[in-house]
Symmetry: C2
Subunit: 433 residues, 2 copies
């Protein structure tokens, strides 16, 4: 006998989880469409060289699922996100009308060390705007993600915003830090290890005390976009990169009217390809980290296209939202079936009549199960109850002889005997009642 487990770090989604997931994903999809995004799909598999050099060192060396085709010797990889494949798609379709707004809901794979809440396969819901370098595109992404969160019912969210150009202008140019990556990595831990911990890490990097002080000051700045931009301007506004970013972010802020958006100069985000505004979403209701993230990446498509194509977008981690929401009690995975009626067949003689009833109700759009187990009426009824089917229908000799069906509402206990031609109406009433 073989082991029956999914690979370590992977998981199955049984019906009670999938029913919830389909509901949440369809809400996200609806908001994407309301904002004028259209669906795109790309393969799960890419050539290794398509993904190489896009995500940074850790992804490159460890986190991308690369593999060699044993037959051809060619190196492939499972996609690491939905952004790089989209960039490749845009580059290979030069006739696309700009701005190109696409959404993509699909799985991505990461070679993480499996641990609680961290999986090697998960679903991302991405929306990106390609072809607009303007702040209104970035603002639209922020508004989009807030509307998604409202639609899902995650009210207490925070969208943190920063800008890669501010980081480069201040840390690299103004502070003269030559190798900023370890500095960013330290700052990024602010929420986890606190200011004292970050200071400790910065000191270990051999930076002068005054530089560490200045870094710590900047990294502690957090507030409304207007407040933070004013502070940044007054301190570092003479730096050209900073000035450019401030202008862009001010225009962005003018189109975002939401207190849940804060600017946070300690926000880093790991991916290499960002070039402008970046954002990260958390929810105070969820015991998980970031549930969405994104930003502007004006250089990525150019790697494939050979011409600069600006782009900005967001990726929503729906599995994490589900896991967190279940843990926090915001969602319940209570629904085990989408079936609305379970037809209990009381007598083998009436099978073809019961089958006719099932077929009729299905043709009227109801989700119908009929017994396939040849067990007693009592056992069938118990099965239907255990699944939580809202209406149980009974078909026996009496019903077959009189051309009727007996319907029983599990919620109210109401029992109705309806003629077959009126069964749909009666059923509708029981389901809505």
């Amino acid at each position: 006998m073989q082991k029956a487990r999914p690979p370590r770090g992977f998981r199955d989604f049984p019906p009670e989880l999938m029913i919830l997931k389909i509901d949440i994903v369809s809400k996200i999809e609806r908001v994407f469409q309301r904002y004028g995004f259209d669906p795109l799909d790309t393969p799960a598999v890419e050539y290794w060289e398509t993904l190489a050099g896009k995500y940074g060192e850790e992804a490159e060396n460890k986190l991308i699922w690369r593999f060699q085709d044993p037959l051809s010797g060619r190196w492939y990889a499972l996609r690491y996100d939905l952004t790089v494949p989209m960039a490749r798609f845009v580059a290979s379709n030069p006739g696309l009308q700009m701005p190109f707004k696409r959404y993509h809901i699909g799985k991505v794979w990461r070679h993480e060390e499996p641990q609680r809440g961290r999986f090697r396969e998960f679903t991302q819901c991405d929306a990106d705007i390609v072809g607009s370098p303007y702040p209104e595109a970035d603002a639209e992404i922020v508004n989009l993600v807030l509307d998604v969160m409202d639609e899902i019912g995650l009210g207490r969210v925070i969208v943190r915003v920063n800008d890669r150009r501010l980081m480069a202008g201040i840390f690299e140019e103004e502070f003269g830090i030559r190798d900023p990556v370890p500095v960013y990595r330290a700052i990024d831990k602010m929420d986890k290890i606190g200011a004292k911990g970050v200071r400790g890490e910065l000191e270990k990097l051999g930076l002068s005390a005054s530089v560490v002080d200045k870094i710590m000051e900047v990294a502690s700045i957090r507030g409304s976009m207007a407040e933070v931009l004013e502070w940044v301007s007054s301190r570092y506004g003479s730096n050209p990169k900073v000035a450019q970013a401030v202008g862009h972010l001010e225009e962005m802020a003018s189109l975002i009217d939401d207190k849940r958006v804060v600017m946070d100069l300690s926000l880093v985000r790991g991916l290499d390809y960002y070039t402008g505004p970046i954002l990260e979403v958390t929810s105070e209701d969820l015991p998980v980290g970031s549930i969405a993230g994104g930003g502007r990446y004006d250089g990525l498509i150019g790697l494939f296209a050979g011409r600069d194509v600006p782009a900005t977008g967001v990726s929503i981690g729906v599995d994490r939202i589900i896991d967190g929401g279940l843990e926090a009690g915001i969602f319940r995975a209570g629904k085990k079936t989408v079936t609305q009626v379970y037809i209990v067949v009381l007598d083998r003689d009436v099978y073809s009549y019961a089958w006719k009833a099932a077929s009729l109700l299905r043709s009227q759009g109801f989700n119908v199960r009929i017994d396939l187990s040849r067990t007693s009426g009592q056992v069938q009824r118990r099965k239907a109850s255990k699944m939580g089917v809202p209406v149980i229908a009974f078909v026996g000799r009496k019903e077959a002889d009189s051309g009727t069906i007996t319907l029983y509402s599990a919620a109210t206990g109401e029992r109705v005997e309806a003629r077959l031609e009126n069964a749909g109406k009666a059923l509708e009433r029981l389901l809505s009642g």
Copy 2:
């Protein structure tokens, strides 16, 4: 600059194809739900040993995308179908209530030699009934697939049915063929190479002329289930396997009232795991081969579970349906966007007013795009027309000053100026007209 192609044998689905695909998949899903199937998801990646030994020689040696994790050395595989992962899932969840009816819509991967219409990644839509050994379960699968085809709008379909037990009883036991696989492989080509070609292949296998005659006679039998079962019974009904299959198929036939179902004793189907009735669906409207296939596989789950669990199901090849339907002109990939309104901004000054209008219409559930390109009104309008957006909205100084929006129907040419608070109603009328 990097090459921007998807890997050979893989393909991107641009919006105009995805909009069509989402429509067709959601129709399939709706029928699955009407029949009382619930959604399941399993990982794309399985341990190699989970898939090994399930599909037959060609899959095992060549068609399964197996790969070694370069970090751990472990062998994995991309799933080859959705059936074996489901069998693994059922085995690892012994508490599942039987019958377990699940559907699964997802990608599968095959290491095919890429050629026209044959891809290395494609989407399958599967529905399976686990836990019922009875003919009514097989009949439900046949009725389900017919309803799916009706829902998609593929009227002229044929569901061919055969039974592995008939094949074993007649060819192996009655005709004494010890190594039936090459015989089945020859018979399977009936549609491609004709009776004469099949005879030629059989003769090469070193079978006696009388056995070849008998095989050719059986393989030519095709008709209604009732007709064929009568013929089989009269000729080979004394064989116990044949008798068992005939009884099962007769009960099945009593629950299928559809002339599109024919029994065809030349139907083979490649997969190793089938044990009872098998089925294959083609459409006279589509210039492609089989568009769905399935059957009973009572032994597969037992390989993981260590106990016999009967199961039957069908897999629908939605990509092939789309490709064939497009080629035959049944479907059109004409719709480039789901956007309903494109807001043309005539003046940069009124951006925030236009943004407010977009936000209002989105909150009313409309799919709205707003200009993000800062181009002239004329260019924006041309973009909207090219995308085929049904309603174009104009916002300029006049509209901003008077609190209105101008709506233009691309279909009828009608132009309406509506106050912002009434814009939703006006829009609805234009969209439905």
